[in-house]
Amino acid sequence: MSDNELIELEEEEHTSPLTAPTFKRIVGLLRPHWRWMVGFLLTIAATAGLDSVFTYINRGMIDQGIGHKSVDALIRYATYYGGLQIVQAALVFGFIYLAGVLGERVQYDLRRALFNHLQDLSLSYYSQNAVGRLMARVTSDTGRVSSLMTWGLLDVTWAIVSVISSTIFMLIINWRLALIVFSSIPILLVIAVNFRKKILVEFRGARRANSKITGEYNQNIQGVRVVKALGREDENLNEFSALTGNMFNASYRAAWLSALFLPTVQIVAAFALGAIVWYGGTQSLTSSFSVGDIHAFVSYLTFMIWPVQDLARVYAEMQHSIASAERIFKLLDTAPEVRDRPDAVAAETLLGEIEFDHVDFYYEDRNPVLTDFSLKVRPGEMIALVGPTGGGKSTIVNLLCRFFEPRNGVIRINGRDYTGYTLESIHSRIGIVLQTPHLFSGTVRENIRYGRLAASDESVEEAARIAGAHEFITGLPKGYDENVGEGGNLLSTGQKQLISLARAVLARPELFIMDEATSSVDTLTEALIQHGMEALMKGRTSFVIAHRLSTIRRADRIVVIEDGRIQEQGTHAELLRQRGHYYRLYTQQFRYEAEVKYSAEADLSPVAAD
């Protein structure tokens, strides 16, 4: 959690100037909803204009009504005022609703476009971009862009119209005084923008400090056993207090800068007010400067402060929002590395010969993971891939699934280069079970049905039975309707594995791929998983990244992979006789499994029973 937050914070630091192409694309986002945009721009502009009209009406009330002691005039102006009040209320309703809903809509559009595009991007993109970054793209970046285009645009429009309409009315009343007031605006703006930027920096600092505090809480609670065992409480508090100190400094500074901001702007305005009083007062002796005029000027002046404030805020935030927009566009412009060729055809079956022909692969340049890899697999054959971590086993699986494509060499299915097939036709025929099984929030049933969406409840249960998962599922309080929690967290690893097996069974794949779990599950679950796998592999070509002896022994062929190359291959017996890599791996695993098995046995049969 706090890691994602740190990524977000780091990215928020970026600013970009507005360039023409970016501007065009940002505007392009609004095109489908231009009516809404025109609507809120008109309503906010009218609202801002009316604000200065109210002041003008007040001036009328004073000069025509009170000044001439005319109740008629008073009533007339009051009627205008009341009528316009109702009009303005309708306008306020309009701009809040229009801008707000438009903002939500633009965010919705952007998120949909990003998410859909992410679905099409290749695994290579995912391996280069941390999930936290992609999350930030879809969640916070879209928020910043949509609010710039709605609330930001709204604030700017409001501010500009307010300033202009106030200025016009002031010019009408007294142009000399109007110029005095107007001259204060640039000063106000410069002060406000600088303040805003400083405040923004402090706020970011506070958020950064805050996410560090959360991280520290998290660590200390999770490692509380260690803390207690080592008696490190006092030192921890000292260190933590330094973090809260940073937080205090940043947020205190942000707060008092904010507190200083408005008074500063107001004092500048007060000088303008002083000028009005002095100049306007002297003028009233010689010309006709009325009480209504004074009132109007004072109101217009105070009126200037808020728009200037808003302009400064939007300006300070705008550059960050543009950086967000550019990141979004960059993602949308990324073309998927693995995609259908224009002349791709649907594969009819994957149950044919599969051949890796002198395949090279690297994730990053100059760092080969697989070198000159060749392997021919007959339909229905079961291949066990064994070898140390990082040797290249997962890469073989990734290539086979066409998550990646070979950098050199060819992979053929049924004698044809598999890049000539459509991705959909390959993927829909593959069943995959990963080492760390991934489930989605929802029920057990929904997770199994992921394998074949159209499957009936009966088929789901049948698949679960085949995979050996039915028993434990029916033992859950709500059975198949039990919620698995976020990422399946409410289930044990073994249970998650059984469900992902059932999911693969339901998919009725022609090619089955499994990355066996290394983490130990209890013996009963283990037996169930073995049983499920056996059922799945029947009549299918299968590749298993194998760790367990029972799996390895069952394989038609064992391929030992180390340093991106095939070191040995053959049947269990052949390889044992060679007394090479496989022999070492096997004896090691044998001892391990036997120990686990026997210590479990020893547990089950207490001495007294002997």
Binding site: D3, I62, V71, L74, I75, G82, Q85, I86, Q88, F93, V101, E104, R105, Q107, Y108, R112, Q119, D120, L123, V131, L134, E216, N220, V224, R225, A229, E233, D234, N236, L237, N238, F240, F248, Y252, A255, W256, S258, A259, L260, P263, Q266, G274, W278, G280, S284, V291, I294, F403, S428, I432, H438, G451, E486, R577, F590, R591, Y592, A594, Y598, S599
Partner: protein, 612 residues
């Protein structure tokens, strides 16, 4: 031994415990009451200055229209006074607004810092029993969002409500000063505004929560999709995923629209109510002016004042609704604060130097606080300083529970344990824990540098050479040098991921530096990483030298050389003695031993089969 720095802002929030929430919040203010009250007072001064500005405007307007001559002398002189008056008042207003903001932030942030420090410390000092039953996520939620709610209670809501009330009092008084009837006529709708805003904000808050909830759901869907990208692709479920995201995304849009709908109703509605109130006031004031009951110059002053009387009221409802959040958070935090801490320093026996490490268990039994049956039953044995004791048994046999009694993570419920002849319960926990080192099979490492993890809890400054010496002895020095930043490499998500064996050796190095007299080695699950096993074993042997050692194990190899082996089953010692003696007995020990030798025979046999 490290101590808490005296300069750390710290306050014992247990003192603030009371069923009356507002009283409790007042108590939390201790030490900040003066600045906080001054902050509120400054708001008042600032409001007063603003109101006075309008009074000055009144004088000005009446002066220029010749209704009033306050100062003797020429008019232009009066105007200069007035001009300076405006600037001066504005400065006073601004200065006090600033002082108020600064003091409020100082108090609120200060209280929050103390609260954070206290909670951090309090949580790490709560008992094991509390930690084992409380999910981390729940605690984190409370110490972050609930603390933040308290912060905004002091920084925004309490001061905001105070500000609105003061604005009301000052401006009302000023208008009252102008004309009593006018003042009364100006506040007719205030109760209405208040009620309407309360009504709306209760609903708006609810709608906002629903909106946020959907945002969280959307973000879960997104995260699951991104982390499960291989599954999505392997099953060619892109279309399905798009549909799922679309549903959540649309629902969020819908909830956002609903929330905005409420906002777009509330603001214009309250605009109309407030607007007509003001208009009524304007007309009434104008009529009073026409009738000569007030001067013409009073009118613009009134218009300026009444704005500050009415508009802030719209926000009062929002603040009151938000205040209730602060009160709920107070309760949620108090649930943590009221928990009893583990007393670390309580105890009579404080040996000058290190203990010798002689231990005697006499009929020790232990039941968990919320447990029903004894997990450790009537165990007695003795250990001489420097000896090694091995505990052998299956999961649930009680060996881990027995060991947890030594550092007093839990206290035995029956019998007694003597350390150097003194009962364990008479030693303060902190003393015991300094004397006992634990190395788990897969220890928890912190997201810090490897160096920090090695020196973690050692409690003194350690030179780099000493760290490296310990790392070498723990057979982890070479591994560390292989990492990109050596000893400065970060551990965890943002740095390197260490294997179980590597983590264990880091913990061994740490324990070597700590140099405890009593050692606990948890070797209860067997490691797959056989290549490093020999290295770990020799590192462990170095560590065990001259220390009283307890080994938790389930394999014969790890216990064979112990001075005393206890075989446990269901909380009881079923066999006790040295390896040779136990082997001679017909019992569980021999059975486990036989199994291990059988494995070698079987392997040989299997390979022979294929060799034929």
């Amino acid at each position: 031994m490290a101590t808490v720095s005296p300069t750390i802002p710290y306050f014992d929030f247990r003192k603030a415990q009371t069923p009356k929430k507002l009283v409790g919040l007042w108590r939390m203010l201790e030490g900040y009451r003066l600045p906080y009250l001054l902050a509120n007072l400054s708001v008042g001064v600032s409001a007063l200055a603003k109101a006075t500005t309008y009074i000055l405007l009144w004088i000005f307007a009446d002066t220029v229209t010749g209704n009033f001559t306050p100062f003797a002398g020429t008019l232009s002189k009066t105007l200069i006074y007035l001009a300076f008056g405006f600037v001066g008042l504005s400065m006073v207003e601004g200065l006090f607004a600033f002082i108020s903001g600064r003091l409020a932030a100082y108090s609120a942030e200060g209280i929050t810092r103390r609260l954070r420090n206290f909670l951090f410390d309090h949580i790490q000092r709560l008992s094991f029993a509390y930690h084992s039953k409380t999910p981390t996520g729940d605690l984190i939620e409370r110490v972050t969002s609930d603390v933040d709610a308290i912060r905004s209670f002091f920084n925004e809501q309490a001061i905001g409500v105070g500000r609105i009330i003061l604005l009301f009092v000052v401006n009302f008084t000023a208008i009252w000063f102008i004309n009593h009837k006018l003042a009364l006529a100006s506040i007719i709708v205030i109760p209405v505004v208040l009620l309407v805003s309360l009504w709306f904000f209760k609903r708006i808050t609810k709608a906002y929560e629903a909106y946020q909830e959907q945002e969280a759901k959307l973000s879960t869907t997104l995260q699951e999709n991104l982390t499960g990208v291989r599954v999505v692709k392997a099953f060619a479920r892109q279309g399905f995923e798009k549909g799922k995201f679309e549903t959540d995304n649309w629902e969020k849009f819908r909830r956002g629209r609903k929330l905005l709908g409420m906002h777009s109703l509330f603001w214009p509605l309250s605009d109309i109510v407030c607007g007509f109130q003001m208009l009524g006031g304007f007309v009434y004031a104008a009529i009073l002016a026409i009738n000569g009951e007030i001067t013409i110059g009073t009118y613009p002053a009134y218009v300026g004042l009444v704005v500050w009387l009415i508009w802030p009221m719209r926000n009062l409802g929002r603040l009151i609704v938000n205040t209730s959040t602060g009160l709920v958070s107070y309760n949620r935090l108090m649930e943590i604060i009221k928990q009893e801490r583990e007393p670390l320093t309580e105890g009579r026996v404080r040996p000058e130097g290190p203990v010798r490490g002689e231990l005697a268990f006499e009929k020790v039994s232990f039941t968990y606080e919320d447990g029903e049956s004894e997990v450790v039953k009537d165990i007695s044995f003795r250990v001489q300083p420097g000896q090694a004791v091995a505990l052998l048994g299956s999961t649930g046999s009680g060996k881990t529970s027995l060991i947890k009694l030594l550092p007093r993570f839990h206290d035995y419920t029956d019998g007694r344990i003597l350390l150097d002849g003194e009962e364990l319960k008479d030693y303060p926990r902190e003393v015991l824990r300094k004397q006992i080192g634990t190395v788990e099979q897969e220890p928890f490492l912190f997201s810090r540098s490897i160096r920090d993890n090695i020196t973690y809890g050692v409690g003194r400054d350690v030179a780099q050479e000493e760290i490296e010496k310990a790392a070498k002895a723990a057979a982890v020095h070479e591994v560390i040098l292989g990492f990109p930043d050596g000893y400065n490499t970060l551990v965890g998500e943002k740095g390197v991921t260490l294997s179980g064996g590597q983590k264990q050796r880091v913990a061994i190095a740490r324990t070597l530096l700590k140099n405890p007299r009593i050692l606990i080695l948890d070797d209860s699950t067997s490691s797959v990483d056989t290549e490093t096993e020999a290295e770990i074993r020799s590192a462990l042997n170095t560590l065990m030298e001259n220390r009283t050692t307890f080994i938790i194990a389930h394999r014969i190899q790890s216990v064979m050389n112990a001075d005393l082996i206890l075989v446990l089953d269901k909380g009881e010692v079923v066999q006790m003695g040295r390896h040779e003696a136990l082997l001679a007995q017909d019992g569980m020990y021999r059975k486990i031993y036989e199994i291990q030798t059988r494995i070698d025979d079987e392997l040989e046999e299997e390979i022979q089969n294929y060799e034929l």
